[in-house]
Assembly symmetry: C2
Homo-oligomer: 518 residues x 2
């Protein structure tokens, strides 16, 4: 039996469980492996088969020309065929370790396989209104509010714009305002789609102006473009492909997206959907690396699920968990930085269904080991809706998931044989034991808004459910937290040069929109 005293100095040195230091705020993944290595090899081989023999339709002239020069060919339908040896080189030479910058260095992220971060995501067009609890079209103010709320949530490390400003119909205004609202709301790394390639340089100019320095963005590119360069099955989308090309040339990191939907735009067999999503993801990766070898790309293969009774997208089922986790595992197999989607509840409100749908998909996906879990906070209604309250709740859920991912530390101290002997032969409990006191903050995570009251105390405090408590938190944050990292003079300059629609009255503490909880 071990005789040395457990729970001594070593235990006391531990840091709080969730105190991740800057640039190391990922959580190791990979403890869930839905596929065997042999199964991954078969999926890989089948995906390369597809790329070599079926190929991709609609490659842009730029990509086609570069590809043909590297040994690819066109079939008689004009499909670009990628030979196996070419794809081997693409996968071998792709960027696998790079920094995604925040506006502030404390939010920089080391992007590499199997080190997991959580990001928002989505392009919802409806907002579950915080006051009425009903859906209405989402606006640029919602986007700004979501950004600054996200800025206060340490469990979410990247802010991808969750909603579309539906009132902005002009494409240029939409793109500029979307990026502006995100960049003013949070200093975390940003993600957004960009509609046409011409907007890329103008967005970068605007961001340089916000930061007050030409070339500032290229120095620390803190915005990734979400480029859905594929229309499934196996077809390049022209505008998005050109946006990706423009972004690569401008030094903007790319989340390269494809979203085949099982049974609709991908096979109903889950394994077949994985073959297709790998083929499409690798095809998109090839196109970007042809334009700019080694460009920072997050491989965003998002295999989606259809409810085959209706053909509609459904994000909350077990099939989605399996597909997302397997895609993460496959990208770790390639050692490529990846982003997959989870937490895409079908429920319309942050209720019990939303809770379990989000938890199951997010937990399994994160444990599968992607670099980013997208859509991981705030989304409802199969990605059609977004909610501030859901974002707060989901961030709390993620702290629980990250605690699970941290696992159990087994060593002589933690095995606690002497501690057990002390308590069993002594007081019969462990409440005041040195080890208990030493581990209180390091071994346990305490929720911020989840309820652990006794039933009586919970009733005394008003019998609030999670949605109600989250609403209070949202009000507290949004009535008080107005980030001031953009210098006023620069903001005025930007507003003079670009058609900024976000009302300045919404960006100051006297904003009429938000009042603190009474």
């Amino acid at each position: 039996m071990a005789t040395k005293r457990s729970g001594g100095k070593q235990a006391r040195r531990k840091k709080p469980a969730m105190d991740f230091s800057p640039r190391a705020d990922g959580t190791a993944g990979g403890m869930y492996k839905p596929l065997t290595i042999h199964e991954m090899e078969r999926i890989h081989a089948a995906a390369l088969d597809v790329l070599q023999h079926v190929g991709m339709k609609g490659a842009t002239p730029t990509v086609t020309e570069l590809a043909l020069a590297k040994g690819c060919s066109l079939d008689n339908e004009g499909r670009l065929l990628f030979p196996r040896s070419f794809m081997d080189d693409i996968i071998a030479d792709a960027a696998r370790d790079f920094v995604l910058h925040g506006q502030e260095p404390r939010h920089d992220i080391d992007a590499r396989a199997n080190q997991v971060h959580f990001a928002t995501g989505g392009a919802a067009v409806k907002m579950l209104d915080s006051d009425s609890g009903e859906y209405r079209p989402s606006t640029i103010e919602d986007l700004y509010d979501l950004a600054r709320l996200c800025d206060t949530l340490p469990n979410i490390q990247w802010f991808a714009r969750p909603v579309v400003a539906t009132e902005l119909e002009n494409w240029r205004e939409l793109d500029l305002n979307t990026i502006y609202a995100c960049a003013c709301g949070t200093t975390k790394h940003l993600g957004s789609s960009i509609i046409v390639p011409e907007h890329v340089p103008e967005i970068i100019e605007m961001l340089d102006s916000l930061l007050g320095q030409e070339g500032a963005f290229r120095n620390r590119p803190f915005l990734s473009v979400h480029a859905t360069t594929i229309v499934s099955p196996l077809t390049f989308a022209e505008d998005s492909s050109n946006v990706a090309t423009a972004a690569a040339r401008a030094g903007m990191p790319i989340l390269s997206l494809t979203g085949p939907q099982s049974g609709a735009t991908a096979p109903a067999a889950l394994a077949g959907t994985l073959v297709q999503v790998v083929a499409e993801s690798m095809g998109a990766l090839a196109a970007i690396n042809l334009v700019k070898p080694g460009h920072p790309v997050i491989v965003g293969g998002w295999p989606f699920v259809s409810d085959l009774r209706t053909g509609s997208f459904t994000g909350g089922g077990g099939e989605q968990s399996l597909l997302s986790a397997a895609m993460a595992q496959l990208m770790s197999f390639y050692d490529l930085p990846s982003g997959v989607a989870a937490s895409m509840a079908d429920s319309k409100v942050p209720d019990n269904q939303a809770g379990y749908e989000k938890a199951i998909t997010t937990l399994l996906t994160a444990m599968g080991g992607p670099t980013f879990v997208y859509e991981s906070a705030g989304m409802l209604a199969s990605l059609l809706g977004c909610s501030l309250e859901s974002m707060v709740i989901d961030a709390e859920m993620i702290s629980n998931i990250r605690r699970c991912m941290r696992g159990i530390e087994v060593n002589d101290d933690t095995l606690s044989v002497t501690v057990i002997a002390d308590a069993a032969r002594g007081p019969g409990h462990f409440l005041g034991h040195d080890q208990t006191i030493a581990l209180m903050e390091s071994e346990y995570v305490y929720p911020e808004i989840a309820d652990r009251e006794s039933p009586d105390s919970w009733i005394e405090k008003g019998s609030q459910d999670m949605w109600a408590r989250a609403r209070n938190r949202v009000r507290d944050v949004l009535s008080t937290y107005y980030p001031r990292h953009i210098e006023a003079g620069r903001d005025a300059d930007v507003r003079q040069r670009y058609p900024i629609r976000l009302d300045p009255a919404h960006m100051i503490p006297e904003s009429p929109r938000w009042r603190p909880v009474s």
Copy 2:
């Protein structure tokens, strides 16, 4: 490239995803391994250290006498010390494959390691009233209603009594009525504690009378006793130990329980809690096997978690998920049938918090591979409360979890290379493809009450959340589903001989309590 047509005959032969045949209704577990083999060996070694050197206090005279005859010893504080070789024999000779019977054979369960089933559980004293949505003391009627609701939920395979009939103060009446209400409400395998050993034979007599045949219960023992024979740390509880002895002698299977709580009655270090729960579980297993070698025992080590800010039990955190999953993994390591607890939400209502707390703990625990996940449906308020609606919701959640556990099938057909080529070169979608039609029922699970409507359609149908939809389902079931497997004459006989308190008016379709949804 594969050339044969996928999605043909073989795919068409598949059975619906969740159509588990009788006696095979488990789901393979073990895909989540929180501990390495080396870590399990260290925990095992530490637990045997504890049993050998610290031992167990308060063994009954029966157990002590049998143990001393087998080479155990008493230390100078009267603690029973179990030598390693003795424990090796206990573990080697324990029952590892037996049937737990239902009243109906279709509910029989093959109990063995790593084949996972879901059970209710708990001893809540409060019921979240279905009408008022508020807590009130639980009654014998609640227990009967929970039993018949469970009888309709295929994802729950064992009914352990979730609530205590708080109006029954007499111990004998409480035990008899508890078993009576359970046995009348469902024909699934039953679990309940029994307060004192004298009640064991009387309960068996009563069950024989209900079945109309002496010896019927011994023939197909469809009730397991939940015997918490341990008070942590490392102390036998006298009454429960004697109940376990009486049950073993009467041929009643035993769920042998210990529930050490980290930081309170077990070490704050999670690994240390595992050492203690393994030691206590093996000590309890030894005591039963001394009385009756090879008796059917489900090893129920339930490591619980304290919120160390208050000392209160908390069931919803990441630490609970890890402990329960690790305990399941350890029992698979021993190849012993096991039951661990999950789904013990701290939330007081079936809200978003309950959803994610239950999902994370249940998913990880089930993937850890116990034979039974207890407490898996209906429990709220850190086990103090129970809800009919939660039971329905949790059963739906479990169908999602079981789909995840089934995993992804990878073979030439499912890899779908030809299917992808067909669609990419042909219609550009997979909607009408043979494979899609063939896999619609086998590859996908469709929820029963979870919402997958479009936002507009959901609003049209009344904007109901999961709790509201579950309430409708509860009403539909409880106003119509009255099991009639107990013959009226036998029931009358039992009511004449035993102090049955469940009002017969509550057990017929004209019951005033439940009205269908208007």
